[in-house]
Every structure is written in C-alpha cells, then in structure tokens.
C-alpha cells in the first residue's frame, strides 16, 4: 500500500509540473496584462517600469522559471485586480464553493443512489419509469435555465426562498459557513439543488444500471436462495458491488463541480471560486488564473488518490495486489 501511495505521489508530481508549464504558456498566449494594468494614457516610461516590475520583459522560459521559483516558496503572486495575495484570495472563496459543492454532491448521492437502486430493482413499475423520466430531464435541461426557473418559481412567485447570495454566515475555525444558520441554509438550498441536478441524474442512471445487472447475477440468486430478505440483498450485497463505479463517478463529479460550478454560482450570485475565475478571466487577472488552474489540477490529483484508496477499501481483490 505504501508503495502504491508513493507511486501515485510521484505521478502527481509529474502531472503538477506538466500542468504548471501548460498553464503558464496557455495564459501567456491569452493576452497582455499590461493593457489592463496601465491606463492607456500612461507614458512610455511608466509602461516600461511596470513591465519590468512584473518581469514581463524577460524571455518566456525565464518568466516560467521565476514563476516556479516563487510557487516553491508558496508565493502565487498578487492579484492585479484585488491587489492581494492570490493564495489568500482563493482560500477566502474556497469555503463557499466547498459548501455548495458538497451539499450538491451529497444530495445527488444520498438521494440519487437509493432511488436509482429502486428503479433498477423494479424496472417496470410506474414509479421507476417516473424516476427515469426525471433523470432524462436532469440530463437534458440546461443548468442555467433550471436555475432561472428555480429563482422564478421559489424566489419571485412564491417568495419562500432567497434568490441569491450566501445569507447569514457563522465563523467556524476562522472560516465562514452558511449551512450553520437557518438563513444561510435557506440560501444554500436552491443553488445546491441546481448544481445537483445533473449529478443526481447521473447517480440514478449508474445505480439503476448496476442494480439491474446484479439482480440477475448468481450472487443475488444465491443470497436469495439462502433466504436473505430483499432489503438485505440490496443493502449488503448489491450496494457494495455497485459502489465501485459509483465512487469513481462521485470523485470525478466532486472535482469538476468544485472547479467548475461557474454557471450556478453566477446565477445565484454565490461568492465562490467559479465567480472568481470568470471575473479574473474577463479582467485578464493572470496570477489568479494561473493559481486557480494549478489548484484545480492539484484538486483532481488528490481526489483521484482518495478514489483509488476507496477502491482498495471497497474491493478486497485490489488490496492484495498492492499490499
């Protein structure tokens, strides 16, 4: 197991290095930040001074190396727009996104998997057909439209839910969370629901397909022949067996939601990472973009590692080979 983790860390290192080069070159190609930083009527002298201050007069490889050097010291640079350290900026926005994403992904899994299993267990019942119809809807309806509908129905017409923002927050360990207050929770519901819709449909489909297949398997037949109740068969045998593909998708979805909850955050004016990255792209805030993309790469690596460890926990056949 230790060897496996070491190997994964080694791979992670390579990915991070490759990612840093890619990100740096990519962002370099996007545009010249000087045009944003300096007002157009600045003199040539000021221009040259600012360019030199940010090291933009150096060749690309030189800029990259000093960028890597700064990262190694934990310095991701300062945001051009907010004029504060990027790492601080990202960390200040992270809890909001984390909260929203976890709420969405947990809802999708905790509700989606059981009803997906039901749909797979009784594939021909009207309820199952209704569940599948909902999941098709969840796949096909664009997120932004669903979000707007949620706001229109629950916030505008019904007036029972807030339309945007995080609401009241409580500080816990120095970090602000909104799910701990009633008002914050009310603010969380609609965006989380909106964000969960696609994942919810995905979990339903996966759980249903896995359950349907397993219900015909000899494992289930043998368990039934031993007199196990249907509930035990589903909860102890089937759930364990379908959990491996589910964990894979859970990990991927958790990562992509954390990184790219942009649309939902924009619609519900949720002050999270997604909004930050969109704002920094429009204003060509280069340090924020670079640091954010590096952060996303790191996030996926960590989540993938956790998923792999979860496999080993779930499937004893994998434990042996890596022990």
């Amino acid at each position: 197991m230790l060897g496996f983790i070491l190997q994964r860390l080694w791979q992670a290192l390579i990915v991070v290095i490759a990612m840093s080069a890619l990100v740096f070159c990519g962002v370099y190609a996007v545009g010249n930040p000087i045009d944003v930083l300096i007002s157009p009527d600045a003199t040539q002298d000021i221009r040259a001074a600012v360019i030199a201050q940010y090291g933009l007069d150096q060749p690309l490889w030189h800029q990259y190396l000093s960028f890597v050097g700064r990262i190694l010291q934990g310095d991701f640079g300062r945001s051009f727009v907010y004029n504060m350290p990027v790492s601080e900026l990202i960390l200040s926005r992270l809890p909001a996104t984390l909260e929203l994403t976890l709420a969405a992904v947990l809802f999708a899994s905790l509700v989606g998997i059981p009803i997906g299993m039901y749909a797979g267990y009784k594939p021909h019942s009207p309820i199952s057909r209704a569940i599948m119809a909902i999941s098709i809807l969840g796949f096909s309806v664009p997120t932004f439209w669903f979000g707007l509908m949620l706001i229109m129905v629950f916030a505008v017409q019904c007036g029972c839910m807030p339309a945007g923002g995080r609401g009241e927050t409580v500080s816990l360990f120095g970090v602000d969370f909104s799910f701990l207050t009633g008002d914050g929770l009310a603010h969380l519901v609609l965006p989380a629901l909106n964000l969960a819709l696609f994942k919810f449909s995905l979990m339903i489909r996966l759980a249903r397909a896995g359950t349907r297949e397993l219900m015909l398997s000899d494992t289930v037949k043998f368990a039934r022949a031993a007199g196990l109740s249907e509930f035990t068969v589903l909860s102890r045998h089937v759930l364990r067996l379908i959990s491996i593909p589910l964990v894979t998708v859970f990990g991927l979805e958790l990562g992509s939601t954390l990184a790219f909850a942009v649309v939902t955050e924009t619609i519900f004016s949720w002050p999270g990472l997604g909004k930050l990255i969109i704002d920094s792209i429009t204003s060509l805030d280069r340090p924020v973009m670079v640091a954010y993309l590096m952060f996303v790469a790191l996030l996926f690596i960590v989540i993938n590692l956790l998923v792999d460890l979860a496999y080993a926990a779930l499937d004893p056949r994998l434990r042996k080979g890596r022990a």
Partner: protein
C-alpha cells in the same frame, strides 16, 4: 449410496404437473412443461438433461426464484404436504435457506467478491434467526470446518478470491447446509471444477447428506456424475421428464429413446477413433481444394510440430520505484508465474496428440505458444523445421500453417462480422483466395463443416453454440493449415453437440491429413480422439505415450490419480466411481 432409501416414507417433496413458462416476443417459452416427480426424505435424485431442457428452471421453480417475467402457470409443489405454488413471497423466503437451499454451478459467481466468507455466512444465518456477532462467528467457523476447510478460524476472514474454485464451492455448500435444510438443490455444482476436485466434492457431499439425512436434487448434464451420486435419475428433454427410475436401471437399461441417444453420444461408451452414434446426421461435403503447396511436407507419422524445451514466465510489470529497486539490487521482479516450465513435445504429421491437465497446469499456455499466439520466454517451437514465431523485440507469428480453435465459440467469433467475412478474413489477407472466389470458398467450407452454405450472410448470434463451434472450425481450416491447436473445443457443449463436433474433427482430420494438438481436461474425449496423450501437471509433462497405454497402465502418480477421479458410468454392474 450405501443406505437404502425407504420408499414407503411420505414424500418430502412432491411436484405435480409443474409448468413454468416465460412469455417472450414469440409467445410463451415453455421452459418446464408438465414435470412430475417426488423425493423421499434423504433421497438423492439426479436430474439430467442438456442445456435448455428445463432442469435448472425446475430447480428454481421449487425454491421459488423464477426471474421475471417467468412464472409457474400450473401445477403444484408440495413440501411435506404444504403447497408452495402461490405462497406469498414472505413465506417462501422463510423456507429458502431454512428448509430448501441451493448450490449453484459457478462458485466464482455465487459468492460476493467484496464480502468476507464470515460476513456472508453471518448474513445467511441472520436471514432465519437472531444471532449476535460472536455466536455468528463461532457458527461460521463450525460451518467452514464441516466442509473440510483447514484452519477454519483463519479462513472465515478470507475473501472469496483467496480461495481456489473447489474451496469456494465448499463455502457455498457450507452456506447451503447452515440451517440443516431437508432438501438441497445442486445445480451443476461440480461442472466448473477440475476432475480431482470434483471427485472430492462428490465424495464429501455423499457423506454429508447421508450423515445429515438431507435429500438432494442433483442437476447435471453429466450422466457419469449423476450415476455416482443419485439413487434415482430423471432424464429431462424440452421441459419434460422422459424417463425416471432407479439410477442403475435408467443408465444401464434405458427405456426411452432420448436416454439411449444421450448415452450413445458419450465418447466413453464408444470405441476410440470411431464416429459416435447419433452424433453425425450431417450431410458430408468435401472441403475445397488446398492452394498451399503440400509437396515438401514430411511423410505422415514423422515429427512435424516440434516444441523444444519451451518455457513461459509471466512477470508483473514493475513500477518506477520497483524498477529502480530491482536495478540497484534491492528488490526482485514481482510475482512471477511460471506457466510452462520447460516442455518438449512433438506432434507428428497426421496424428492427434492429446494434452491433458487440470486448470492452471499450463496446457493452454503451451497450446498458445504452439499456435504462435504468444512467444515462449525460452525454448523453440518449430513447424517442419521452421520457427513458428519470429524473434526480436516484437515477435510475430510467421506461419499460417498452425491455426487455433478456442473453447468458447461465443467470444471467439466477432459478433459484428458476418460469418462469410469471419471465414475469409484470414485467407484474403494471406492471398489464399481472391475476392471473386471468396463467396464460393465460404460456401464450400460451410458445407464441409456441416452447415447450410447460405448461412454466410448471417451473424454469429443467430447460431447455437454447436453451430458456432463449426464456424470456428471452418475459420481455422479456411487458412489451409496442417496443424490445428484445439483448446478445449467441446468443453462448453452439450453431449450430443459434443459428439457431432468430435465426429466432424475425426472426419476432417482424415480427409485433410491434419495434425491436431488437442487440449482438454476431459479424459474420455481425449481417449476417444487422440492417438497419443501427454499429461501436464504444474507446467511440466509428467507422462507421454500412446493413449491406450496411458489409460490402461498409467506410470505417473498424478496420471493414476487423475484417471481414478473420473466418474464412470455403470457398465451393467455396480456404480464404480472412485475416490
């Protein structure tokens, strides 16, 4: 069985006119259609039939586990006088595992791979009683010990993949026995196992049921196995029992024509090398003429395919750190499996060499090396003096004169290609035929293997297992080979289909002067078909010689054990299954 079952006792189970149907697009599939029989307490009933005869569905009907949309449309199943048909699912569940339990064919598939043996036993215990964790564990240990698994305290914490096939089946039997049921339905419980393991399980099962007084329904396609365990035998054909009676009577003096046909199809009851009775029924057509030169081939009977000291090791690819460690001498290469440990074998031109061994003996790996599919780690394989595979970093097969027929005709044929394309793919690539001749070439080969020549436009899924195996044979022969490596070509087929394929191989071999390397675990098939036999054990050939000599007078211990483990049909005398 030693103890005589008292026929006068009230029946434990009485099945009357059972009909289990499956609605399908084209009307009802009558899987079981009017089956009646009864079992006395402690009796062993063998239920024999070919695939699709309804024998498994009969078992599932009794235990109340018919998959949707199938249902019992008529008939009655009485357990100690209590009607089971129409019982609410809750009451049926209370009977399952408690009074009637079931053991399935493939222990790989039946045990849950992600739960430990102890957990699975605990779940089965909790299904019928409330029990605390410590008690459950103790009971699990006892149950595992009862089916003769050594070190039960340690083994209950094992997962299924840590057991061999035979051990897994023992665990399944332990679970079936947990609540001391009155009836166990065994659905081909030894079919997936090696003969020696099969013999052990059979013997243990016999002992256990006579000890516990459990009645058994033993479902099998293998008449010899059934004859060694059953008191009575019922022969099923298309949803009906055509003959039922005492085992010895049914198997030595069969009354029904179908039972006789089944017995006639067995290679163990025919003279070696002869066509099997009732196995033919195919219009013989000559194979198309060969294009490849046969002029410089050695005479029949001289050495042809020569395997010289072949070794095959499989190594796990090492990761970066391991590689560094190996290079610096800190670590060894990861788990190495030595599948073939230095084998020299000669197939003479025109002969059939049988390669016999149990699973894991390396026989398939050797066959693949002989066929030029995988390259040996060391040693050479030459055909008529020429190597079968090239050497270098990326070795390739360099001859078309060796072809292969695989075991599973369902996975060896590409389901998205038409039969005609499957057969001509190789010959076209190697210019044995041109595009214009191809359709005619396919028709000739289809006729030669006993298929309708107009089938060329169909897809593999439109054929039965036996027909697919014929297609696989046609595909191999269309390459105009001299040697064919047959890797268990009849293992997944019913006896009557097996007889047809064996007859086909006997005929084609004579017509085409083929040499066959015939890999099989089935000793009776090998004896029937092969001139010489090589016995393989743990990667080595332990004995080699003329078929008759080896079967009548085995020299090596392993060969003797292997032969003794084969269940034998009664030949008008007492059952002769050996331990």
């Amino acid at each position: 069985m030693t103890d005589i079952v008292t026929r006068s006792a009230a029946p434990l189970l009485e099945v009357t006119d059972l009909r289990t149907w499956f609605p399908s697009g084209r009307g009802e599939v009558k899987a079981v259609d009017g089956v009646s029989f009864s079992i006395a307490p402690g009796e062993v009933l063998g239920l024999v039939g070919e695939s699709g005869s309804g024998k498994s569905i009969t078992g599932f009907s009794i235990i109340g586990l018919i998959d949707d949309p199938g249902r019992i449309v008529e008939g009655s199943i009485k357990l100690e006088g209590r009607e089971l048909v129409g019982l609410p699912s809750h009451d049926l569940r209370a009977i399952r595992g408690k009074t009637i339990s079931m053991v399935f064919q493939d222990p790989m598939m039946t045990l849950n791979p992600v739960l430990s043996i102890g957990t699975q036993i605990k779940l089965a215990l909790e299904a019928h009683e409330t029990i605390d964790a410590a008690d459950a564990r103790q009971r699990a240990i006892t149950a595992v010990a009862q089916v003769r698994i050594a070190e039960p305290e340690r083994k209950v914490d094992f997962f299924p993949h840590q057991f061999s096939g035979g051990m897994r089946q023992r665990v399944a039997i332990a679970i079936a026995l947990l609540h001391r049921p009155k009836l166990i339905i065994c659905d081909e419980p030894t079919t997936a196992l090696d003969v020696s393991i099969q013999a052990e399980i059979l013997a243990e099962m016999k002992e256990l049921v006579s000890e516990l007084g459990t009645a058994l329904i033993w479902i099998s396609h293998d008449l010899a196995i059934v004859s060694s365990i059953a008191d009575r035998v019922a022969v099923m054909k298309s949803g009906n029992i055509v003959e039922i009676g005492p085992a010895l009577g049914v198997l030595t003096r069969p009354q029904h024509e179908y039972t006789r046909a089944l017995l006639d199809a067995l290679p163990s009851r025919a003279k070696p090398g002869q066509l099997l009775l009732r196995g033919s029924g195919i219009a013989d057509a000559p194979p198309p003429p060969r294009k490849s030169a046969t002029a410089n081939l050695p005479a029949l009977g001289s050495p042809y395919l020569v395997i010289d000291n072949a070794v095959k090791r499989f190594e796990k690819p090492a990761g970066l750190f391991r590689n560094l460690a190996i290079k610096s001498g800190l670590s060894q290469p990861l788990t190495v499996v030595q599948a073939v440990a230095g084998v020299s074998l000669t197939v003479r031109r025109g002969e059939v060499l049988g390669l016999v061994g149990e699973s894991g003996s390396g026989k398939s790996t050797l066959g693949r090396m002989a066929a030029g599919i995988i390259v040996p780690t060391s040693g050479t394989i030459r055909l008529n003096g020429q190597p079968v595979m090239s050497t270098g970093r990326a070795p390739k097969k360099i001859t078309t004169r060796v072809q292969t027929i695989f075991q599973d005709p369902f996975s060896s044929l590409n389901g998205r290609m038409r039969i005609g394309d499957i057969i001509t793919e190789g010959p076209l690539a190697h210019r044995l035929v041109n595009r214009a001749e191809a359709p005619d070439y396919v028709r000739q080969w289809l006729a030669a293997v006993g298929l309708d020549p107009t089938f060329a436009n169909r897809f593999p899924h439109q054929f039965s297992g036996g027909q697919r195996q014929r297609i696989a044979i046609a595909r191999a022969l269309a390459m105009q080979p001299d040697v064919i490596v047959c890797d268990e070509p009849v293992a997944s087929l019913d006896v009557s289909i097996q007889a047809q394929i064996i007859n086909l191989l006997i005929r084609l071999r004579a017509e085409l002067d083929l040499s066959l390397l015939f890999i099989s675990h089935d000793l009776s098939v090998v004896r029937h078909l092969c001139d010489r036999v090589a016995i393989m054990y743990q990667g080595l050939i332990v004995e080699e010689g003329l078929a008759a000599a080896i079967y009548d007078n085995p020299q090596h211990d392993y060969t003797a054990r292997l032969l003794a483990a084969v269940p034998v049909l009664p030949q008008g005398t007492e059952t002769t299954a050996a331990e």
